[in-house]
Amino acid sequence: MISLYKLIHSLVDRFPVTVVVITLFIGHSVSLAEPLQFSAGGFFKLNVLSGGISAGGNLNGDSELWIPDIPVDDGADADFSHLNSHARESRLWLRAVQDTPLGRLEALVEGDLDADRIDNSHDPRLRHAYIVLGRLLVGQTYTTFTNTSALADLNSGIAVGNVVTRHRQLRWQQPMTATASISVALEEPLNRLHFAGEAAITGTGDRRPPDLVVKIDRTGNRGNISLSALVREISTTGPTAPSLQTDSAIGTAVSLAGRIATGSLDNLRFMFNHGNALARYSTLSTYADATVTPAGEIELATLSSAMIAWQHFWEPRWRSTFAFSYSRADPHGTSNRELTRDSRSAHANLIWTPGRRLSVGIEFLHGWRSLLNGADGELQRLQLTTRINF
């Protein structure tokens, strides 16, 4: 582990040179003589939500499942009187493809309107911007640590136990057999720290070695499965850290995820995640990676999360997903007792796809969380979604 850590440090010291070399390498591979194929696409997605309002009536929490905004101890029964609607999840992507002597070159830029909401204006947000050349990927996309085919098919977004985050990375994917491959990635090192005595969680900068991810995946006729390992350095050396003292700790995490066919189209999707470097990668960043004690020491938070979802096709044009997920963090004892400790979500939906371009669905969502002080609260929502692909 120590030699691995030294290797990461070595790569980071030379990171600007590495990026320049890779950029030149990719630039050199683009042949001006060959045609570059451009395509564009996306979808329009309108959500109409009926259910309880978020804690404080937060516009973002009212639009999507946002764990810290689940109201706690509000004494309210299930309430479906609050109505909200938005189209902020609508997406647009641009894609360019070219065959080169070094392999297929693919570039993708994708954005949506899902940035923080202030009123009915929705700021655009970059979701993906990356280049793939053969087995090399450079840019921003889903973390290598996750298995995106294991994410549940939910109109309301993602379940609490999922691993899903997008950030900059450098990834190499190497086939091992015809059905298995290994991926190694260096990814953006952002921290989420909780300073004891403060109410909020603070995001810190990236003056650290990149996160290291190794993933082995296997695909067969019955589905796929992946096992990922993550190594991160969590530290207080970021520029926004209020503590004068600096400290750091190495954390690790593992994730087992996959999608297994249970019928011709039916499938079971699952994710089991555990580790003391998992917090920023799972549960929609609800938890802090570590607590900084009054003495300025880093205490990593162990997090366990899981998601299981069954997708069933009543017939090819009618499908449902039933999903349950759970997440629990065990932060240091000096943490603010009003931070979230456990969270879970349950989802059931019915989606109709009358044509290749259109889907209409209804989903019931139940969210729940409890705090370190023992208080808890829940949220129910019905969500009607219309999506048109273009």
Partner: protein
């Protein structure tokens, strides 16, 4: 690393081995490539292949509504499915040739034999067209649906005329 964490890691590793076995190739959904293509009897292999084509088409449609994967990843998966469609269409084409060869063993009037063979040739031709387009990478959703509908129409025409209703699968 605390001992209980190590135990959980080992448990995850054990689970991965267990599920990896389940995700393997031990029970393929597709018909065996080496399966005997000569059976055009009660449950014909060519009908199974046609169903396989329809299934891959349904999977292709499901991909269109995947929220979480990027367009680049989805394009690769669509490419893999189209390759499987081409493979299934080629097997269907070979199966149609076997049907023609088996017509002599059926108790059919000469005029019915001609009609039977004509339908088998139509099936082979339509499977060939679908496979050609899939292999060339020019198979858009519209062409795929049209190709599958044409194959289905041929299958249904033949089954309606010559298959024992008690043995119908489609």
């Amino acid at each position: 690393m605390p001992g209980h964490c190590l135990n959980r890691y080992l448990y995850c590793l054990l689970m991965s081995c267990l599920v990896a076995g389940c995700a393997g190739d031990t029970a393929p959904l597709e018909p065996d490539h080496n399966a005997d293509d000569t059976n055009s009897g009660s449950i014909s292999l060519h009908a199974v292949m046609s169903e396989q084509l329809a299934l891959e088409n349904a999977r292709l449609h499901v991909l269109l509504f995947d929220l979480h994967r990027t367009e680049t990843v989805l394009a690769r998966e669509r490419g893999a499915l189209v390759a499987r469609i081409a493979e299934a269409a080629r097997r269907l084409q070979r199966g149609a040739a076997v049907i023609t060869a088996s017509s002599a063993s059926l108790a059919l009037a000469p005029v019915e034999v001609d009609r039977f063979n004509a339908l088998a040739l139509t099936l082979a031709s339509r499977a060939d067209t679908l496979a050609d387009r899939a292999e060339a990478g020019t198979l858009g959703p519209e062409q795929l649906e049209a190709g599958l509908a044409a194959i289905d129409a041929t299958c249904n025409s033949c089954h309606a005329l010559y298959r024992d209703p008690g043995n119908q699968r489609r």
